[in-house]
Amino acid sequence: MAEAKLPEDEDGVKIDLISAERMDGKTTMEKIRTILDGVRDNKIVILEAGLTPDEESRLIEVTMAEISPDEFTGLEIETYPKSQADDSSLLGRLMGKEETKKLTVIGPANQIETLHKDETLISALVSRK
């Protein structure tokens, strides 16, 4: 799929809203690469369907490997906290049922700051670099 071209001198905040369909079928590393490439390009990445706990764990690990002084300080990630109603059973996981995935916002650590978060609302401040 062709990537949209952005003007070089555009002075704004770039946001990628990635559909569940676009991420579906990607491997864990492909998902992580999609996220980190976007964030390292100073974009705010919004995933319609978030990551599984294992993918989140690997995202943290790969992010740590890519942090570099004066260049990339890591990422800020926000998703709704898990509510009691979402608690999936061991049997459900063994049967291959994933936990309910939730919309997830990810951005460069130096550009996004969470102001408030609860089970139903994420309020964030996004600044230009």
């Binding site: 706990p53 764990s57 740590m64 890591g74 800020e76 906290p81 650590a109 130096n110 609860d118």
Partner: protein, 213 residues
Amino acid sequence: MGLLTGLKDSISRAASTLFSEEDPKRIGIYGPPNAGKTTLANRIARDWTGDAVGPESHVPHETRRARRKENVEIERDGGTVTIDIVDTPGVTTKVDYTEFLEHDMEKDDAVRRSREATEGVAEAMHWLREDVDGVVYVLDSTEDPFTQVNTMLIGIIESQDLPVLILANKIDLEDSSVQRIRNAFPQHETTELSALEGDNMDEVYDQIAEYFG
């Protein structure tokens, strides 16, 4: 005959590995930076072995390598629970060396510390996925527990069906709120303590014995 004997021995060894009651469980001490993980690890190690695990500091990311203290025997109710405690680096999604400059550090030292910190976080995540049998999750009760790192880590721990005990640390401080932590993670037992002062450690040991014994 030799083949059969070898096969029998292999099965026997595998079964003893799977079902051994003797192997101490590896309990990972996890949490965000500066929650008091090493202070707790040292408190447990000193109480039951006489040794410390590692240096403590108010500067974030003092612990940059996972450290294991083996065969910590905790005596409870006439019995003994033996565990390995694994003190892990604080988990985060970002590390900025400039934050260390605020702690009177030269740039070279700050950059080195940040690089070691990132390696330590990755190491901690690896231990969590592969090498721990249970988790003690330590939170600073003066801080907001509703952070993404806490949400993600508890989710990762739950997804692996690891037993987890949440500890609300630093109750000796004025701004401490244990209830805030209980509200954030109502699905888990939360026990309050001050690892620094040694407050409520008896209950902590009771819980460790109950959860990981």
